[in-house]
Symmetry: D2
Subunit: 437 residues, 4 copies
Amino acid sequence: MKFVQHHVLPWRLLALPAQARSFCSTSRRLEIRHVSELPSRTKPSYIQSPSNTLLSLQWPSPPRNVLITKKKRTPNITESVVEFTTHIRSTYPSINVILEPESAEELHEQLPFPVYTYHRGDGVPQHLSDRTDLVCTLGGDGTLLRASSLFSHVASVPPVLSFAMGTLGFLGEFKFQEYKRAFREVYMSGAPDTYSTLSDSMGANPPTLPTSPDDPLDRPLSYADIRGKAMGSNRTARILLRNRLKVGVFGPDGKRIGGGDGDTYALNEVTLHRGSSPHLKIIDVYINNRFLTEAVADGMIISSPTGSTAYSLSSGGSIVHPLVSSICLTPICPRSLSFRPLVLPAETPITLRLGKKNRGREVEVSIDGNTITEKLGTGMEVRIGGNEIRRDARGWEGGVPSIVRGTNGKEDMAEDHWVGGLNALLKFNYPFGDQEP
Amino acid sequence: MKFVQHHVLPWRLLALPAQARSFCSTSRRLEIRHVSELPSRTKPSYIQSPSNTLLSLQWPSPPRNVLITKKKRTPNITESVVEFTTHIRSTYPSINVILEPESAEELHEQLPFPVYTYHRGDGVPQHLSDRTDLVCTLGGDGTLLRASSLFSHVASVPPVLSFAMGTLGFLGEFKFQEYKRAFREVYMSGAPDTYSTLSDSMGANPPTLPTSPDDPLDRPLSYADIRGKAMGSNRTARILLRNRLKVGVFGPDGKRIGGGDGDTYALNEVTLHRGSSPHLKIIDVYINNRFLTEAVADGMIISSPTGSTAYSLSSGGSIVHPLVSSICLTPICPRSLSFRPLVLPAETPITLRLGKKNRGREVEVSIDGNTITEKLGTGMEVRIGGNEIRRDARGWEGGVPSIVRGTNGKEDMAEDHWVGGLNALLKFNYPFGDQEP
Amino acid sequence: MKFVQHHVLPWRLLALPAQARSFCSTSRRLEIRHVSELPSRTKPSYIQSPSNTLLSLQWPSPPRNVLITKKKRTPNITESVVEFTTHIRSTYPSINVILEPESAEELHEQLPFPVYTYHRGDGVPQHLSDRTDLVCTLGGDGTLLRASSLFSHVASVPPVLSFAMGTLGFLGEFKFQEYKRAFREVYMSGAPDTYSTLSDSMGANPPTLPTSPDDPLDRPLSYADIRGKAMGSNRTARILLRNRLKVGVFGPDGKRIGGGDGDTYALNEVTLHRGSSPHLKIIDVYINNRFLTEAVADGMIISSPTGSTAYSLSSGGSIVHPLVSSICLTPICPRSLSFRPLVLPAETPITLRLGKKNRGREVEVSIDGNTITEKLGTGMEVRIGGNEIRRDARGWEGGVPSIVRGTNGKEDMAEDHWVGGLNALLKFNYPFGDQEP
Amino acid sequence: MKFVQHHVLPWRLLALPAQARSFCSTSRRLEIRHVSELPSRTKPSYIQSPSNTLLSLQWPSPPRNVLITKKKRTPNITESVVEFTTHIRSTYPSINVILEPESAEELHEQLPFPVYTYHRGDGVPQHLSDRTDLVCTLGGDGTLLRASSLFSHVASVPPVLSFAMGTLGFLGEFKFQEYKRAFREVYMSGAPDTYSTLSDSMGANPPTLPTSPDDPLDRPLSYADIRGKAMGSNRTARILLRNRLKVGVFGPDGKRIGGGDGDTYALNEVTLHRGSSPHLKIIDVYINNRFLTEAVADGMIISSPTGSTAYSLSSGGSIVHPLVSSICLTPICPRSLSFRPLVLPAETPITLRLGKKNRGREVEVSIDGNTITEKLGTGMEVRIGGNEIRRDARGWEGGVPSIVRGTNGKEDMAEDHWVGGLNALLKFNYPFGDQEP
Ligand SMILES: NC(=O)C1=CN([C@@H]2O[C@H](COP(=O)(O)OP(=O)(O)OC[C@H]3O[C@@H](n4cnc5c(N)ncnc54)[C@H](O)[C@@H]3O)[C@@H](O)[C@H]2O)C=CC1
Ligand SMILES: NC(=O)C1=CN([C@@H]2O[C@H](COP(=O)(O)OP(=O)(O)OC[C@H]3O[C@@H](n4cnc5c(N)ncnc54)[C@H](O)[C@@H]3O)[C@@H](O)[C@H]2O)C=CC1
Ligand SMILES: NC(=O)C1=CN([C@@H]2O[C@H](COP(=O)(O)OP(=O)(O)OC[C@H]3O[C@@H](n4cnc5c(N)ncnc54)[C@H](O)[C@@H]3O)[C@@H](O)[C@H]2O)C=CC1
Ligand SMILES: NC(=O)C1=CN([C@@H]2O[C@H](COP(=O)(O)OP(=O)(O)OC[C@H]3O[C@@H](n4cnc5c(N)ncnc54)[C@H](O)[C@@H]3O)[C@@H](O)[C@H]2O)C=CC1
């Protein structure tokens, strides 16, 4: 029995696996289980079509393990999570719901089925990425960023379906009202048509739990099990692979700092910043292992195209479409009149090093708005590698596969969400005049 | 008979003064008269109060000669001009209406009283500035700029009351719907209270024309003649003296170019621009007669604080409050990463010179959006002097005295218009988010 | 006899082909011949290597027809052209020198061999692109842009070797002093090693003219003919394929304007600008055939990454590395506080249309600094398609294949030129302080 | 005996006044005395001349008490301080040298005369501003800012003479090499000519110490005592009164926070910043006590024109000449595309308030690069009043009177230092091109 309850979290109900099973029969609904009990992950493929710059999501078999993350400390979002999980669980009974530890604790008593979770140990749990087929986020951009950070140490992130709650975010593609349709589209994406004609009763009869005596977790589901109309093979969900940045922090001796043996992935950006020191910092910037420039500034942002509309934009960067394979270098309040933001090829290796001139001054390093180290000192460096998206025989891989709105039949509308976001959210080129003062 | 009809304009009805008089008796309404027939100008003073950064308008006697300019080629503005002039003429019968030549021609048949105008000869007519007590503009910023250009060669501009028609402009302070109240406020501004208590009948009885057998034009009116309630001495109209720039164009020999023996005043800015030449221009910039920098750019803008929200803003300049005594230097598309806009003291003399490096390339010079010369060549220069506003024993003088909204009793609201304009018109710091995409 | 002398150019010596031949024997040096007499073009291929983001130039057989363009009206560049052509012609006797008509006229008397040229008829000559194997430019960025414009109607541009003369340009990679080595590197690029070991005598003996009785123009040369040491197969010249923009201008009826039946290619950018009209223009911007925004501005720039350091930079655009497959949209002096430059995928189709609101105002359209139409009026539109670079079985194609400095053995140095240009030419992030005031 | 030695500083030699006197006779050179022993301050006046925008420094009698501040931890500056103080003390024997506590401790043993200092108690010592006639700084901008902070609670700052050491600062006007001449100019500034003709021997004879048996500290010196040539009355030192900002921090209850009963003055700026919190802050901005906008940003800078070339510039602000009576409002990394820097009249009261939306998030407040509070929480506000410079019957007052270079006979050169700084230090509009890559 390798699984040991973590002492920090007061999970009265997170039993050891064996106990959980037995406990199960009496009071299933109050149960919190561990993700390691789940069947292993179903990986979709992402197929390119000549007519569209976005990719098609294609499940080999329906997704079963769905991680749901939500914005914290917002009561009405909690209600929505209950509604949402209840819906997907009753409509697609073979689905298993994974929640973050806090949410599991907060919600499991309201949910008439077991929820799965993990321990927030030191670092991000490997278990989670081994089991999660699909991620759904309910909140804003911050919630999506947090969800993405749960996979910041793994190369293969499950597809992410985001719902904006109240405040629209720039990255959240769907409105919560659309959740039934949106989830269905994603769930069925890539299902063969034959199945879809067979199973045509959804909506009329309430779905029943799987009757198989075997634990349904033990076998992969086929689309034939699904009570509902499939979407047709060309009604697949559209995927935007959002490139991430690979980030490593190294000491003056060239050794990796901060534990772990691998890089961390950033969805928006990695930022070096003076933090609460009121003084300018001096950061040497290398691209392709060659010296580019010495930034004397509050800090530096290295962002993905996705992050170009986040902090980089506030610091004067250009807006870069997420499909432009690139990496952006934007200074924060540089003490120079001539430091213009740069857009480099996504593959460019970038190193930011704290030179000797800083004389003991330190900077803070953050990834996607989380400070990872507060003390980057002289001689230390952050190394960033851009392009993690790659194409091989089986299709595309890497990045955060984000499900994008606007598919059904209107293939060419697929990119609307970005332009829509520019205009509606960023108030891009907002017109002058006319309103009453 | 000193007045000679100008040959260019086909004014069938602009009779010689003598004829005009006789014609008068039969068909007054069809008449166009010449401004030189008007009594000479009544100049107000502008008084500073300790509690307010704006000045108070104080007429020695009521204004009589009112110039009205309107946006061109906009039918519904024409109607508004008829309504407006009819109102002021019937409420304040001693007022004489001056129109620009085209408007006079277009409107005089609809107006039941004579209108005055001038000849658009070469240059701006001196007559006009000698007779105009008050300017009213109906249109947008462009209309106000055009009105101001009628006084671009004189040091003392009459106060300007602007009405925004439809499209709100940044400089137009009043909505047309407010015209009765706004005009009254300006008209009565500075009138002593004693008069105001005497004359209390306005609104009830229709005003009658002055009964004096003498032409009322021959004597200054007193406020006792006015049928209406005065505003009280502390309900004066508030004036913002908008600083102008003095602009002169000089040849390589140091001689003034473009005729005239004096400078031209700009309200927004003077611009040097490559125009339709597709090449960069090289402009040497001198401040305080000392070399500052060589601008390699599309052009240069030297603007007043008023103009800081016009072309200069589009070119990346800061927004400067009109009460900051300053002059702004903003490059247009400079071929330099380090050319930041400058804000200099209003008194700073600035010279823009076309250096030898341009090898025959020429630039265009515009003032407030009107091209004054298309061919500024090598060795030629534009000299700009900033501060024309001065204070002497009698109070403040110079600039374009703009009547500003929001006085009655709420003295401290007086500056609202600028902040209001920033937010409502320029969409300054327009908030992100939340609207439906 | 299909070839007719063009009446505009006073080419006394541009004889008809037949005559030229006969004339040849007596006074070869004074001859100007027509490019159509040249053997047809040798197309190189561009090979990708895993270790380098730049491509390798690979000639199937040595280039023979070399077009040389030079900066105009600059006497010392003329001398350099004489030196350069004399060198390549004597070292590589099978090379034929093509000059632009003016240069041919100006120089042919100083050159001890025939020069080839074309007629500057209406539009860019097809002949030229059918014969030119390699382009060499002597001048600055403007000279390279002019050379590129000679191929602005063809899909396949010959490789371009640029020499900076005096003023370094941002696009000109080589210094003129390096011309022998640089040309040799390009000439030999991709030559098999076996040949190189055979022919080892260059430098010692003066090269002799080909002695074959047959006109050497009639057969492709092999590297065995070359007297000189080859560079080794991994010492190939490095190629940066600079993406161009495909530009078409269309009337309100959707018909192509401006003659020709095809698009024009831009290397830097296509610009719409108010030109000498002093008023704002209103340009509707569509991307992916969907409305993006209405630009109220002096104009709009659509630029390639190469052009991101040209006009777009002056207008506030980001600096985009030429290897980022993208297209930049930068407004010129927009009347909006919130119009930030955009970087879009290179494939994005963009349409700029003059909407009805302009009421008769027109804009000028320029490509790479040349005005192509001065009167784009209401309802007319410019359509831009970005990515012309494509990869097929034979390798890469499209764009302007620019030969880039810094190869020999130091493969990874290959991108230096861009970073070098940023720092040395654009004064990117130029450090503050320290110098004497 | 009111003066008590401060326990923190290990001043072995800072004796009580009585002891100091007696100690004096034996070993004057090792002595540290307290500033309260000095004669009270001599205040100069600042006279405006019609021909110059700068003011003339006019001492009623020669300055005696000179505070010298130096950059910390920089050995060669320490040497320069020794050289400088030794020079002024021997040339102008009635001068008393005041040092900061650390410098006094470090240097007094190397100086052949007593030095005066103060206790760094809680807050800035009132004693210091009551005694200091003149401040000299040796270092960079940071040193001047620190010197200015010693007077950040008093309305009347002594004139400041700054020497740049090594690294030129933007605010440091003189090179150290010029110190003899520069100090003399300041010392003699405003001395009547009669005296100057009398005392003509300086340079030839070494100056002798005053022979009067009375302590020279007890009587004001006249210029007749000075051995040296006066500068002539029109060779006065030129003064730029650098406006400061008055800053107060208030709690949600409207009570002043942070002790003290008065405002603090800032020379560059007051900054609100998120510090090491990685999240956006929401700051409500009021001008003239009316809501202007809600800044969602890293922070806000309110700067003087002097500070416009400091942090504000790095954050995208315009460069404002120090003689423009204004206050600049510049956001730091605002989450808005349309937040442009503002330049407001110097008198404008500005309030920055942390609104409820921040939900517990706090910001840091700094003045001139020193954090004054790390925890500005919800409901708290910073109030800034701009213009402290005023003119009354006796001349100009307020601000930091900065001695500016470039006077002798070339009056009109006086403003050079600012333009010089722009070009040499800020690399304003640094030209493109030409250098070798
Ligand atoms: N001055 C600024 O603009 C700052 C921005 N940030 C950004 O905040 C992110 C972290 O987000 P939160 O934890 O929610 O912090 P937060 O509470 O500070 O909010 C960040 C804001 O940025 C928006 N945002 C996040 N990612 C975006 C994207 N890719 N495109 C457009 N908008 C985006 C969010 O909707 C939210 O409005 C960081 O990755 C960083 O990009 C962080 C600090 C300062
Ligand atoms: N790219 C740009 O932003 C350009 C701006 N202009 C400006 O246009 C002015 C001439 O106006 P029009 O004849 O109406 O030309 P126009 O038809 O080109 O319109 C200029 C626009 O600027 C606005 N405007 C004018 N003065 C302003 C001010 N002081 N503050 C804020 N907004 C202001 C007007 O409301 C109008 O929207 C010039 O003085 C110049 O400042 C002229 C050419 C280009
Ligand atoms: N305000 C501005 O910055 C303007 C720029 N231009 C640019 O000039 C180009 C035409 O060049 P010329 O005929 O020589 O005109 P020109 O004589 O106006 O000079 C243009 C300048 O831009 C530089 N340049 C050209 N292409 C560049 C590139 N890709 N990257 C960096 N620098 C570059 C040249 O070296 C030269 O200094 C146009 O394609 C346009 O990009 C044209 C008009 C105005
Ligand atoms: N990102 C930035 O640009 C930041 C700037 N600062 C500035 O630093 C000042 C404090 O100075 P230090 O203690 O020396 O800090 P520091 O060591 O961070 O250096 C600040 C730099 O600003 C320069 N500077 C200071 N005042 C200036 C002025 N009025 N005009 C032009 N340059 C000026 C100094 O020469 C120095 O190069 C603050 O008042 C603030 O203005 C502070 C933090 C960040």
